[in-house]
């Protein structure tokens, strides 16, 4: 028996060795293939129906819009070649690119453009992403290559929200009911006009996109793009180090040095249009702008950027990305100054009470801090801020919770008490921020949605936001957004902490790839040797 055990063990060991050394060596990405990774299984590849960011990482290769904002921040013609706006800002006419075909061979026409509006506004379709389409009164299609949008009122964000939105194929959906559309195979295998087509979707494993031979633009250099689905961020870094990836975006600051040392990897560093903030829920003392300003003074932003973000962030002063066209350059963040914070609160009537806690009219200044449990850096940021606020004399408990618990019903936002929530946010590179600051977006109850969770309300802000939306003239619009940002800085509806720096590693054999705050170079120009 001893001998048979031994023989068995030797066999197992040999088998393991054979398995581990057979086949191709790991870490080889074949030429003409570009491999990248996302954390979640893309839920739905229809741009109007998806819920997860991972989905847009896939479908952006498949669909086109009338106009596209390129990676330098310039608008470029896509499915349209030119456009004109009427002087009253209510009629937008687009001339479409002739000869474009869908990846299934059908011709692309103005009918598809009109249908996309009907799709986006159909109340029976489970649409998640569609803003601006409700401002459209009607769409005319005088010829197959001409589309005329008639708006209900002048609407400045039209280009960002509608002209920049994906166009869907009418011929696929024409005979489907809304219920069928919600569950269509199209949602996993979409038909688009873009440079790549989804040719394989292995759930939770990878999505393969192949070059679209019918693409209207320059012929794609790559044969295929493979998007692997790997949930763990550390595993993603290990994949990059093993040479299994062409591209890894959003490397966690803690592993940045390690990835930098990977042979051949080129690092791209850019400001992501996403900022970290503290939402101040205005119930009691937080209704008072002086208290909010004092808390801003008492928040050690520079220290957070240096010690927690390891320098991979830039100070924030408003909700417009600092290297973008909409940032108000005259504003500077409040410095960290506990003395000024204390003076502001003293002027406001606060006096130190038992235990050094500030009190006013017999009530203690109590502001609990909350952060997302899934974000390690958020929790660390919270601890640092809590220490500083306590030093000021604020009674501050620090707690973490899941996103569902933090933002959903019964969460800390709904308990009717002052609270401060740390998370990240951003309307991207576009300026439209009405849903954040308008009093019309204050949630009415725990079940009613509303993005103005801080319950900030200022009639002047409401007026400016409405005016910005109606002002089509670019220079005037810029001036209004400057005033909106000055208002944000004065009123402190939220404390702006910092903008995230995105670190992306690109493999040595990749050509033609670059990335900025505004986006990536067109994928048809990427190649791998």
């Amino acid at each position: 028996m001893r001998a048979s055990w031994r023989t068995a063990m030797v066999c197992v060991a040999l088998a393991a060795l054979a398995v581990s050394t057979s086949g191709v060596a790991t870490g080889a990405v074949p030429a003409g293939t570009f491999v990248t990774v996302v954390s979640e299984n893309p839920d739905n590849l229809n741009p109007y129906l998806h819920g997860l960011l991972a989905s847009s990482t896939v479908y952006r290769f498949v669909f086109d819009s009338l106009y596209t904002l390129d990676w330098t921040g310039q608008w470029k013609p896509g499915l349209a070649t030119s456009y004109a706006v009427s002087p009253d800002g209510k009629t937008w006419t687009f001339n479409l690119r002739p000869g474009v075909r869908w990846s299934d061979g059908q011709p692309f026409t103005s009918t598809d453009v009109k249908y996309t509006w009907q799709f986006a506004t159909d109340p029976d379709i489970n649409v998640t992403y569609a803003t601006g389409f409700d401002k459209i009164a009607s769409v005319d299609t005088p010829t197959p290559t001409r589309v005329v949008y008639h708006l209900t009122e002048p609407f400045a964000p039209f280009k960002d929200e509608v002209a920049g939105a994906a166009i869907l194929p009418h011929h696929i959906f024409a005979t489907m009911s809304a219920a069928q559309i919600n569950r269509a195979p199209f949602n996993q295998r979409p038909v688009g006009t873009g440079p790549f087509v989804v040719t394989e979707f292995a759930t939770d494993d990878h999505v393969t996109l192949s070059a679209n031979p019918l693409y209207w633009g320059p012929k794609p250099q790559l044969r295929r793009i493979v998007i692997r689905i790997v949930p763990d961020q550390n595993t993603q870094v290990n994949l990059m180090k093993a040479g299994d990836l062409s591209l890894l975006a959003g490397i966690p600051p803690a592993r940045l040095d390690e990835v930098r040392r990977t042979p051949g990897a080129v690092m791209k560093r850019f400001l992501a249009p996403v900022y970290e903030l503290i939402q101040l829920d205005e119930y009691g003392f937080l209704k008072d702008a002086a208290v909010r300003q004092a808390l801003d003074f008492a928040t050690p932003k520079a220290s957070i950027i240096k010690n927690i973000m390891k320098g991979q962030a830039e100070p924030a002063v408003s909700d417009m990305v600092p290297n973008g066209p909409w940032a108000n350059k005259s504003l500077t963040p409040r410095p960290f100054d506990l003395g000024r914070a204390r003076a502001l609160l003293q002027q406001d009537g606060f006096r130190p009470g038992p235990g050094g806690i500030l009190t006013k009219n017999g009530r203690r200044l109590e502001i609990p801090l909350w952060a997302l449990s899934s974000q390690q850096t958020d929790a660390e940021t919270m601890e640092l801020i809590a220490q500083s606020w306590r030093a000021l004399g604020v009674a501050t408990d620090a707690r973490t919770a899941s996103a569902a618990a933090l933002f959903g019903q019964n969460g800390p936002q709904w308990n009717g008490k002052d609270a401060a929530l740390i998370f990240s946010w951003g309307q991207g590179i576009f300026p439209e921020n009405k849903i954040n600051w308008s009093s019309a977006y204050i949630p009415k109850d725990a079940n009613a949605p509303g993005e103005n969770g801080e319950r900030y309300s200022n009639p002047e802000m409401d007026r400016l936001l409405a005016e910005a939306e109606r002002t089509v003239d670019d220079a005037k619009r810029h001036a209004i957004y400057d005033r909106i940002q000055a208002r944000e800085h004065e009123d402190v509806p939220v404390i702006f902490l910092f903008w995230f720096m995105n670190n992306t590693a690109v493999a040595a054999n990749v050509r033609g790839y670059d990335v900025s705050t505004f986006g990536e170079t067109p994928p048809e120009g990427w190649s791998t040797r």
Binding site: V19, D124, Y129, V230, D232, T235, N238, A242, I435
Partner: protein
């Protein structure tokens, strides 16, 4: 025997309905909900969220949704995922083979390693080999799964380049050899806890049996050591291990959640983890029901194995 199994199966159905009711109630009472993902997304407007709430039937009370869900289940419909719009059963079917492969590999590995380790440790009590294995077992038990997985990746995937870091196949390759190469590390990580605990239980159970009178008698009869060990000691020491194996079945399933996430293994564990994060109720319920069913099945299997191992046990 047949009557016994039938009775246990009937009890299981009642138990599962009770489990489903409690789970559904707790799930609905928890803060947040399926739309919280959208609430925290700057690009989804409030009116869209309101519309979605209505379309998904989330504006109905939870007990009404539960009754509808249970009614559907009785007819064989597991419902549709809130996020993909696809039938829950299809989504599970896609991932089932990957999870079963991983669980079977981990189970086989645990079986293949824990027995020799347990036997060696018991027959070399308190010698350095036994002490080393004891230390190793406790170390393996105490080690966080995710950390062990990442360390294996760094060693075998990044440094030595012997094994793939993650995934189930190289892109475009479907051979069995490729699958085995990808299986080595995740199966090791998933099976490690079982190897550690089974070998410890086997050791102590063997030590108990080794002190029995009938073992001494067998030796006195002049039987060779290997025969005593196999026939008299091992067989009589199996009872606690079999119970443990039955109970480890659902543990392997839930352990697969972490292992699959670390190794990008396209199985059910990840599916249910994301369902939990996104509060995709239909998927979440399917995951809970499957793990509850596995727990009940594992117990039943252990009970049945008792009878096979110990002729004194009779089921009525």
């Amino acid at each position: 025997m047949t009557a016994y199994v039938a009775r246990r199966a009937a009890q299981a159905v009642v138990l599962l309905v009770a489990v489903s009711f409690v789970s559904y109630a707790i799930m609905s009472a928890a803060p947040g909900g399926p739309l919280a993902v959208y609430l925290h997304n700057p690009e989804v407007t409030p009116d869209k969220i309101d519309l979605l709430r209505h379309q998904l039937g989330l504006d109905r009370p939870w007990y009404a949704r539960y009754v509808a869900w249970l009614g559907g289940l009785a007819e064989g419909h597991w419902g549709y995922s809130y996020y993909t719009g696809r039938p829950v059963l299809d989504m599970i079917g896609e991932r089932l083979p990957a999870t079963l492969t991983l669980m079977a590999a981990a189970f086989t590995l645990a079986l293949g390693l824990s027995f020799p380790i347990g036997l060696y440790a018991a027959t070399h009590k308190y010698r350095w080999g036994d002490n080393l294995l004891s230390f190793g077992s406790f170390f393996a038990w105490a080690m966080p799964t995710f950390w062990f997985g990442l360390m294996l990746q760094l060693l075998f995937g990044v440094q030595l380049r012997l094994l793939p870091v993650a995934g189930m196949h190289e892109i475009g390759v479907t051979s069995a050899g490729d699958l085995l190469r990808h299986l080595v590390m995740p199966a090791m990580v998933l099976g490690l806890g079982s190897i550690a605990s089974w070998s410890r239980y086997l050791r102590s159970s063997l030590l108990d049996t080794l002190n029995q009178d009938y073992v001494r008698t067998a030796h006195a009869k002049g039987l060779p050591d290997s025969r005593v060990l196999r026939r008299h000691v091992l067989r009589n020491s199996l009872m606690p291990i079999v119970t443990l194996m039955g109970l480890d079945l659902p543990a392997l399933f839930s352990g697969a959640v972490v292992t699959e996430s670390i190794f990008g293994w396209p199985g059910m564990g990840r599916l249910f983890l994301s369902a939990l994060n996104n509060r995709d109720y239909p998927l979440q319920m399917a995951g809970l029901m499957i793990s509850a069913a596995l727990l009940i099945a594992g117990n039943l299997l252990a009970d049945l194995a008792y009878a096979a191992l110990d002729p004194r046990i009779r089921y009525q």
